[in-house]
């Protein structure tokens, strides 16, 4: 067992960190204010290879492993959680299922544009009436010749606003519940894909969260991903990997808030001394750090299991649960350490606090993570 990053992982970590320090951090507040990530930044991240990280070079990827991907999302999110989730949803929820379940032809058709950032990917599972209960999908499809016709509604779709490539989950027979669901690769510029709105949100404001109506969307039957009726299990498998990404995003947010808290506590003076000399503040920092380090170990373990082709769904739920709750506690305490200044937008802790909240909700709420974990523990 070895708890040190390899030379290559350290090179990657410092390269991404430098990029984030110089290119992302300075505009993170503006991204939040403008409710969008500038196109130039998305293009620059694509150029850096961030959008193809762990897929093979033959499809346009960078050929990294999952472990390095976790570091990538962590480092981006340390500077800007909206940019972190753009990369995470694109990679884990769209490119990954195509890579894992697609035919060679599908991979060749869809992956190069995704991995080089010509298209931004998203995952269309959630519906107004099917959130945690994803098996309750009411979006339906029927087959007409060599086409599939999809009808329904999807909401809360991260990256939807880019109208790139989507993985759409739809049912051919709602009475079959999750056994009736199939997954399709859909070009979101297709006729009938109606973008209703990008939601206004509490946090990760730079990330699009999009509502769609699907009105007789015609998709070639060859875009079926995996077999008919296997969509639900593809979605669950996809989310297992995605949770490592979201856990890494949460970890990055927590680390960003923690670093600022340490620095601030050493500068801020009250009662003639720095606030870091008060044990009350020291204990907060110690607790924050303990949570951050334990989240990191859980994430690295889940990524390591995936890299070594071992079962990792328990560990991915564990790391997502723990890291997301950590991000919320750490940003909460970070505001406390900053006092009134923490509540003021200029200090950015306030944004991190808002950004952290979503990590306990998407890709399975904390309640759902506990269900997943308990199920595996109890058999």
């Amino acid at each position: 067992m070895n708890f040190e990053l390899t030379h290559d992982q350290k090179v990657l970590q410092s390269a991404v960190r430098d990029f984030v320090e110089n290119e992302i951090k300075p505009i993170a507040a503006k991204i939040d204010e403008d409710h969008m990530i500038p196109d130039e930044l998305v293009a620059h991240m694509a150029e850096m290879g961030f959008l193809g990280s762990y897929f093979p070079e033959e499809y346009g990827g960078a050929g990294l492993d999952m472990f390095s991907y976790a570091i990538l999302i962590e480092e981006i999110s340390r500077g800007c959680a909206s940019s972190g989730v753009l990369v995470s949803a694109h990679t884990s929820l769209c490119a990954n299922p195509i890579y894992a379940f697609g035919t060679e032809e599908q991979k060749k058709q869809w992956l190069p544009d995704l991995l080089t950032g010509k298209k931004i990917g998203c995952f269309l599972l959630t519906e107004p009436d099917a959130g945690s209960d994803a098996g309750g999908t009411v979006t339906t499809y029927r087959i007409e010749g060599d086409e599939v016709v999809i009808n329904g509604a999807k909401n809360f779709i991260t990256n939807g606003g880019y109208l790139g490539t989507g993985i759409v989950l739809a049912s051919f027979d709602r009475s079959l519940k999750h056994k009736g669901i199939s997954a399709f690769i859909v070009d979101l510029t297709s006729p009938g894909v109606i973008m209703l709105k990008n939601e206004k949100k509490m946090g990760i404001r730079g990330s699009y969260t999009t509502a769609f109506a699907l009105d007789n969307v015609r998709v070639p039957l060859k875009n079926l991903l995996g077999q008919e009726g296997k969509g639900f299990s593809i979605a669950m498998d996809t989310l297992d990997g995605g949770r490592i990404g979201i856990a890494s995003q949460a970890l990055g947010i927590a680390e960003g808030a923690f670093e600022r808290s340490v620095a601030y506590s050493k500068e801020r003076k009250q009662f003639g001394q720095t606030i870091s000399s008060f044990q009350a503040i020291q204990f907060k920092l110690a607790d924050m750090y303990a949570r951050i380090e334990s989240s990191k170990l859980l994430i690295y373990k889940a990524a390591w299991l995936k890299d070594n082709k071992k079962k990792f769904s328990l560990e991915s739920a564990l790391c997502k649960l723990h890291a997301s709750e950590t991000a919320n506690e750490v940003t909460h305490e970070a505001i406390q350490i900053h006092g009134g200044y923490g509540y003021i937008a200029d200090y950015e802790i306030e944004r991190m606090y808002r950004d952290a909240r979503i990590t306990e909700i998407y890709e399975g709420t904390s309640e759902i993570q506990r269900i997943v974990i308990a199920k595996q523990l109890l058999g």
Partner: protein, 258 residues
Amino acid sequence: MNILVCIKQVPDMESHFRPNGTATWFDESNLAFRMNEYDEYAVEEAVRLKEQLGGNPEITVLSIGPDRVIEVIKKALAMGCDRAVHIQDPDVASKDSWQIASIIAAYARGRQFDLIFTGMQSQDRGSAQVGVLAAELLGFPSVTTLVGFAYADGVVTATRELEGGVKGKVRLRTPALVTCQLGLNAPRYPTLPNIMKAKKKEIATFQPGELSSEPPLTGSTAFRHHEKKGSGVVIEGDIAELVEKVIVILKEKTAVLR
């Protein structure tokens, strides 16, 4: 064309430095390390020259130090250097500029390098001697503190930064050595695909003793923090008075308003 770039790994300058056991250098434990800033300009300029010449020159990157310097070597490879030389020396911090330059010159001698790029100085030791000493040892012309670089037909045209914002131009024939200064270029970020490609590039290793066993010419005798000066001056009064007082202080204590 054959290019050599010499790089050093230094602590992050925002680290908290503590003297080591003998109080002759800093304690390296718990420090984060990165590529010496000036060496990044050197790597970048070499890679740009390679691009300018249609990819023909081969760039070798060299670093002396313990195992951890592989990280900066790999970064340079990911930025576009072709191959690397790691001179494995856990004791590098105790060597003076003469010894380091002697090792570099011994490696470079007979290997037909046309151009050697180094940083102007290291951020930690700051001697600014290694590049020029190596050039002397090799019998190469050299020019320091480059803020501009051009190459054509065996001639380097270097723009140097002089005092007071004045710039000078120097021409020299290859083989030559140049040392690079802030302002020369904006180093590229290594991209993820290039970090992966760098994994396959060769890193040759040497022991310092195989190359040179020159004794040091200088020795570091003490490393300590400045003694704490008294606390700052607090000036009081209305704005006009404050400005007056600040101007007096600036005139008397600094060169800003001379």
